[in-house]
Symmetry: C2
């Protein structure tokens, strides 16, 4: 481990000197007599930023290795790391269990002042990065939703978890949790376990999410699992709907639910939004808002909660043309991707260039690829470590049968790889479901310049024949046949005509069946059409804001020794963009004239729209720095004269000297992202006798 630590240290040193060299290059460019081309400067600055991100990641990896402490007990080290982060977060009120004075409610959390500020910064950047940049149509729909809408979407029927009850006490448990906990405990604690049994239990954990209700129930019985607290027998499995139910109006006759996602509000408005967009495709609608899931037994802090903020985009596109004009802007991005094939082959995620992934068909289409790229940029700009971020493709059994392709942005934290953003091509499913249920056609039109004679594919499965042949699986086969593309259908038609039968893979069954000629009729009908009427496809990037924020907390957290080496100090290395407070103002010593200067500076910061705190307690400057490093404040202004002050950067602890008139503007520049700390370091004198952590 010492060797590995050594190599990490060396990597860090190399990254840091690369940063220094590049910073020097940027300065030289800016100072070039006659001026450099803006494009050249921009490119150099971008390169500098990328190097800094690398350096940051290297530092964190070293930190992680050090905290692993060379003993390989990664799990307990992860626990300890998490405990340190969570303690800091709760103590500094980033978040706290809701209704704490009443002993709280599992799965409900409050964001306190710094957490709330981080959240509102993340959402503001989301609006800037997605809504504004792409001219999306943002909407804001209620949480209370009538039953009819959620029946159409399938949530009333299918949005359930399987539950069992302690037969004596009535306490409820999630069935899959019990099975997982049982397997894990056996594997960890049962020393008599045979290798075969161990392999079996590991397999169960792996396929847990794919077990049917019957399989799950059988396993619970087979292993003799009882209620964890009482050892009482458990009831049979039954589904529990995860929506909070309520009743709209006084009659008691209008059931409603708190929405489990924000997307449905967009789908039901498709017709109006399409009109608003001038009856043109593609366009995207977006919504930020609360969503609710009445979890059976919430765990994992902010990662699995009963109420959370979602930010969702529904991008409506012609199913025949999923190209994206701005795909070229993200095509050169390279990051960790984890395609289906690699997962099935037991490999791990690998760096891929996005453009190639789309070209090779690993990612289904350009629009889906474009959003994957934009999500990567969004997350890394927030401060997510790009080496602990991967895009994982759904396996066939994870995907809804209607979905064309689906990728999750997963972020690694102490709980493992966590799904934080889902990016799914949901095809036409949602709009079709609401069209059917409401009777209002949710379709798009493409007018032809002149009428066209078109051939229309007509697929008519013979339900009778299919029923006889496949019995209970008939429905799945029918759906699979109807869902064939024109190319597939015509191939089938040809094969059936020549050979009389054909092998046909039904994804939803996970197997290949044999289709006979009499089971399906496929034909091309001709007719004249003046326009094409079609249901748009939907590509849906859906962001779990709380999960992203929690992972960001973990990725930003590190500790460093106090100057006196007697204490470990906590730091959140938030980029200025998300830092809850951008800047602090400290008079160096308690005296009226410094307090007055501090107040003048505070006023100019407020005028510039920069959130800040002013601390005129007599505490030592080192303590005051430590206190604000712990909530991730990137810049500290120390008032040590009545004409100029120092600005200290949190992570490097470097200080520069700036005049009082300029200080608010300089802080604004570096927090708005117009300049980097490196840029301003070069413009202002370094404060040589820096205020130390000891003053």
């Amino acid at each position: 481990m010492a060797a590995s630590e050594e190599s990490l240290r060396q990597a860090l040193a190399e990254k840091q000197s690369a940063v220094d060299a590049q910073a020097h290059a940027v300065r030289a460019l800016k100072a070039r007599p006659g001026g450099a081309a803006q494009a050249e400067i921009d490119a150099a600055v971008e390169a500098l930023k990328a190097l800094k991100v690398d350096a940051g990641a290297a530092a964190r990896r070293l930190q992680a290795a050090l905290s692993n402490n060379g003993d390989g007990a990664a799990a307990s080290s992860r626990e300890a790391f998490r405990q340190a982060v969570v303690n800091t977060l709760e103590r500094r009120l980033f978040y706290i269990p809701s209704f704490k004075i009443y002993r709280g409610v599992a799965g409900l959390y409050d964001y306190g002042p710094p957490g709330c500020a981080v959240k509102s910064n993340v959402l503001a950047f989301w609006r800037q990065h997605f809504v504004l940049e792409e001219n999306m149509l943002e909407v804001d729909c209620p949480c209370v939703t009538p039953e009819v809408v959620l029946k159409a979407s399938g949530h009333v029927e299918k949005f359930t978890d399987l539950m069992v009850k302690d037969e004596k006490t009535g306490t409820c448990y999630r069935a899959d949790h019990l099975l997982k906990d049982f397997c894990k405990e056996k594997l960890e604690k049962d020393l008599t376990l045979s290798p075969e049994k161990a392999a079996e239990l590991k397999h169960v954990i792996m396929v847990l999410d794919d077990l049917s209700a019957e399989e799950l129930g059988a396993k619970l019985k087979e292993y003799g699992i009882t209620a964890p607290d009482t050892k009482n027998p458990l009831s049979d499995l039954y589904p529990f709907n995860l929506m909070f139910q309520t009743s709209i109006g006084p009659s008691g006759l209008s059931p409603g639910y708190m929405r489990p996602e924000t997307a449905q509000g967009i789908f039901v408005n498709f017709k109006d939004l399409y009109y608003y967009n001038g009856n043109k495709l593609p366009f995207a609608a977006a919504q930020i808002g609360q969503a609710f899931r009445n979890e059976i037994s919430p765990r994992q802090g902010l990662l699995r909660v009963r109420e959370f903020t979602l930010a969702e985009i529904e991008h409506f596109v012609d199913p025949d043309d999923k190209s994206h004009p701005k795909f070229v802007d993200v095509a050169n991005l390279e990051f960790l991707m984890f395609p289906r094939e690699e997962q099935l082959a037991g490999k791990s995620a690998k760096p891929m260039i996005l453009g190639e992934a789309v070209l090779k068909g690993v990612v289904n289409n350009e629009t889906l690829g474009y959003f994957i790229g934009r999500v990567f940029l969004f997350l890394t700009r927030l401060g997510i470590d790009k080496d602990r971020l991967r895009f994982r493709q759904h396996l066939p059994n994870e995907m809804a049968h209607y979905a064309a392709d689906c990728w999750d942005a997963e972020i690694e934290c102490s709980y493992g790889w966590i799904e934080c953003v889902g990016i799914a091509d949901r095809s036409a499913y949602d709009l079709r479901a609401h069209s059917e249920k409401s009777g209002v056609p949710l379709v798009a039109h493409e007018k032809f310049p002149e009428p066209r004679e078109v051939e229309k594919l007509v697929i008519v499965p013979s339900k009778k024949e299919l029923g006889l042949a496949f019995k209970g699986s008939q429905k799945m086969v029918v759906e699979a046949l109807e869902a064939m593309s024109e190319k597939e259908a015509l191939e089938m038609k040809a094969t059936l005509e020549s050979k009389g039968e054909m092998d046909f893979h039904v994804c939803t069954l996970g197997k290949t069946v044999s289709i006979m000629k009499k089971m399906v009729s496929i034909s091309m009908d001709k007719k004249k059409e003046h326009q094409r009427v079609f249901t748009p496809s939907v590509i849906e990037p859906s962001f779990g804001i709380g999960r992203i924020i929690y992972c960001l907390f973990e990725h930003s957290f590190y500790t460093r020794q106090s100057k006196a080496e007697d204490e470990q100090l906590n730091v959140f290395s938030f980029p200025p963009l998300v830092a809850p407070i951008k800047c602090t103002v400290f008079p160096l010593i308690k005296t009226q004239k410094f307090d007055d200067v501090a107040k003048i500076i505070a006023k100019s910061l407020t005028a510039a729209g920069i959130s800040h705190i002013i601390d005129i307690t007599g505490t030592s400057i080192g303590k005051r720095y430590a206190r604000t490093d712990e909530i991730g404040v990137p810049f500290a202004i120390t008032v040590d004269s009545t004409t100029s002050v120092t600005i200290r950067e949190r992570d490097s602890k470097q200080q520069i000297r700036v005049s009082i008139d300029e200080v608010a503007l300089v802080v604004k520049e570096v927090t708005d992202g117009q300049s980097t700390w490196g840029d301003v370091m070069w413009r202002y004198p370094t404060h040589s006798a820096a205020h130390t952590e000891e003053e």
Copy 2:
């Protein structure tokens, strides 16, 4: 009416020439050789802004008079005006009934793209104006709330409306609505009504909100009111709780509600927030979020809905010191106030200087006054007409018994004067209620430099004697006695000792009772104290964001004739601060080179963070202006060359010519509020051959 119209026209002309003169003065100051003092320029610019607001108001008054059409039928004119506004709002998707394709749900609305943008601008400004400016502690708590919290707050017991049911169909009605509608219809349509009866019905409408359940029920019976749709008899009155009820977790044993206000989330966190603030008072916490009220029969569009966004501030303050250090900043503001006395005397609201209102005790204390002033500034900067905004003090019977004083910011719209912000001094009620119920003391401490011998007031009402004397009213008398201030209590002690009895006004009973010596013991106990422990008072400004936005829509809406005089064009005169989109980009004619320039400009606007739309349809420029005036876009960039473009201001239709490189910065300057349109008009050449509404 013609004379009045004439005088309004003249007033408008005067205001407009005052604006012109002041604008000239500002320009002259800025151009002064050697430069003018910044303070002088600032003052002149402020004066200009104020004059512009006046001119805007005068224009709107003229508009209102014109739409009244000289016939005095104000009510029907208000209806027509509202219909015009609401038609525009719904057609342009500012807001629409939710779940429209499923025939909607009464009292639930979606904000479409422009409405959503207005809302997010209003909330961003709220954060800037209140949270950032005052260093408030913002929190974000869940909507799902366990029953225990809302029992403590009193909502489970008291947050009800009185309802009656159609005895045959089961349809529910709000009892007070039925009574009000009955009285109104009688007054409007029954020509045989005696003057006495008419006076009685008017009185009923006036005191409607103060009627007890018994009185309301009696009136319904007395007037023989039946179900409006069926004429069936009605059930007896019964209370209906307005909270949406649900169940937390799978057991069905934990009732919960969707919060009816955001305030409780702050109160239950008082202890942590006080600690976060360094155990110092005063401080304010704030929260923006959804709140829910399961209205019996929602009416009035956005004004009475089942789900809405609240923005609430809880300012915690020492009850013995409600002074405010920044009160001086608002003391000179003058606006319409409507104190209790004026209301009781049948007078109307009158302009008052805020500082005087506090000095004279019309407003209870400086902190309450400070927030009234800040609310005034907030609303008028959003674009609320200051002449249609008043602060109305609650009458004694409107206020909770614990409240020290309460003022509503009411905005006049077509529905009348609407409560949009409540600003209440709620004393220690909420913190005490949660302390009691949770067992966790929610108190503040003031440490004394050295221990003090203090005299403590002890009031012990004799429940037995009071019960004998006042029976059912005993509880109210006990509470009123216990709530006496030290001064009141000592006066009572003296009077009881000298005279043996004393008249005592009990607010909650609305009458004066006679207190005998044996009914209460009042004494001052001495003891040594090291600190003072007390429950802070809470001053609560609470903003109904949807109501403010709806009133803003009405105040911003006007119509003007098209150039061809064949059409009335709709305009929303939103200030740039709240405008949903800041700017449009129009190529004058459809040609590739102008389209390219338009795209370059669009890119620079995005980079500058300015929301915009680009319209490259071949529609006439006049139509394109009209289309975006109707959603309140303040600036339009028209591309008519490849080097420079014009910027048009929405309300004045003035145009200036600006180079392509500068245009994004100029628009940023005027939308950020760094400059006014007047400022930039002076810097750039006016576009003489302005693109007209006819091109």
